[in-house]
Amino acid sequence: MAIVEVRNLYKSFTRGTESIDVLMDLSLDVEQGEFVALMGPSGSGKTTLLNLIAGLDNPTRGTIMVGDMEISSLSESELAHWRTRNVGFVFQFYNLLPVLTAYENVELPLLLLPLTREQRRHQVENALGLVGLTERMGHRPGQLSGGQCQRVGIARAIVTDPTIIVADEPTGALDAKSADDALNLLELLRSELKKTIIMVTHDPHAAGRAQRIVHLEKGRLVGADALTTAY
């Protein structure tokens, strides 16, 4: 059963008077425990699609099911609530809060959930242990390397045990070695923890680590993965 079901998705932005159609009649399934790479030229709508699946924005038309939740019609505040439990985000530039330590950065989303302090500590330590940064949990982002920051970012993405993990060019700002570490981690999340991962990338090498590559061009899926509207 697909954990992400995108059906006949349209997204257009209005800039001034003209409207730009970014995604057009797009349908996509992602299976539970699947690691999908999303590729395509710049401006093809990869980030837009990822944002919609992750509940950061509402589509113009079409439906998005994640788990058993139809998220395309949720309000901003409902989406925020939903994201905390269901989506883990990994960003290109890590986006850690510079004033917080690694531990506190990872703990941040947990503060929004009804957990006890012990439960939080347990989950944060697990997540940091998984990315191999237990030793560094008292450090601030400024005291960590880019690769380490991205690992903290990954720990933050998994700490709430979300339904899906989305990553927008997670290796885009990393050197080859750190990028490899991050990709190893994502693979590990899939193989060991059976996480569902959707990753946008320009890097064919990174995409090669995924189980499936989806190509996006001018707002439509191309190639074998394109689903027919009759699906």
Partner: protein, 501 residues
Amino acid sequence: MPPGFDPTLNPAGLSPDFSLLELGLYAGMGLFVVLLLLTLLALATLPIFFLALFILDFVLRGFQVSPDPVGKYAKLAGLVFRSLRRNLLRTALTYVALFVLTGMLTLIYSVVSFLGKLTSEKQAQQMVIVTEKFAIPSMMPPGYASQVKAVIRDKLPKEYQPADIDKNFMTWSFVGGSLSLEKRTQENSLFLFALDPDAVLNGMMSEQGLSPDDLGEADWNELVRVINIVKEDKRNIIVGEDRLQIMGKRVGDEMTLYGLNYPDITFECKIVGAFPAGSRLGTGAAMRYDYLQAKLDEYRALKGKEHPTTTRCLNLIWVRLPDKESYERLAAIINDPATFSSPAVKMETFSAAIGSFLEAYKDIFWGMKYIIMPAIMVIMCLVIGITITIGVRERWTEMAVMKVLGFQPWQVMGMIVSEAVLIGVFGGMLSTWSVYFLPMAINSALKAAKVKFSFFDSFACPPEIIIYGPALGILVGLVGAALPSWNARKVKVSDVFSQVA
């Protein structure tokens, strides 16, 4: 006239003869000095501000390990403190600006409410002063005392009269004397007010500080004791402690004073008590009016003719009237040349003098209250608003990230508002508190050091500013943060990332 206390002046010591230019000049200079002092004070309290933030943060950390939901919210609140600490210079500058502006506001508020109280006191009891109309110094026949009393009793309608005219009435005669006729010096001369000792006990001089409230119970009881001794013997006098020091005399000493403005009269005096040092009468002295009368009688008996000053020995008359209305009615009668003609007299009230002084500058006070004060508040909001706006701009992505992680818009908004309110409340609180308590502290330090300098006595900020200051800080924080926090609330997470990525 001795320095320090002049019974012909109104108690505020305000002279109504200021020119507008002078006032403007003083105001300008005063403003500069006030700004400078406030800035220094702000810088001096900066460590307290940061210490307070540190302590609050520390306490919060304590709560962070306590069970949820307290621990959780303490963690979120901790974010606010970290944001403030992030750019220390900006936080400090904002604090200083708010401190100075609140300080200005406090001072203006204090002046306005002080003056407002003065004018409204016009409605309450009126101390009025009767003097000779066309001559300075005022010298009236002694019979004027009973005549003024008679006018009050007979011509003023009952409802406008004081309950007991004798207890609301006093006369002043000025007597200068010297220890030596040949050589008059500062050290051997004494200036005395000849009064009825009961006038002080009747509270006629409470506005001059001779009251249980102003003196404190112990000093007041001492004064009552001394006055009762004065009542025992005509020759007993009370001399201010400062004056005693200058003269090298002490309580218990007897002395012969040769009259200066009463030539050929000698007064045999015994010092039976002292007015407290540093008080308004610290350099003055008081004797019994009936002793002066007795001496004038003695002169007549001895020389077979009146002393030349006998018919002009009454310098001032004070009357305490129930309200402004009675003052106005009585003034109309007394100021009428038909009532008193040789010499003519005039009757004024202390607060009427202040009132007419204030009347002249009504527009300035109106402007202070309704233009300058609101303007300062607006500037305060702008200062906070700008600081917070810059902070929000800097952290635009961070706030988007928090929203991505699931923080609700109001939570992000709340964080920003809290930052503004924190700076506001400390700026407002430390500013009003220093403006309120610092003069008090200086004053008591001066008192402890026995320095006779009572400038700070005369002007005190109203105590409500202790609350108003922090409250204003909160308000200004809320208003100032309104726009930037609203913007932060509206951060569209998807926009931020499609731009960044």
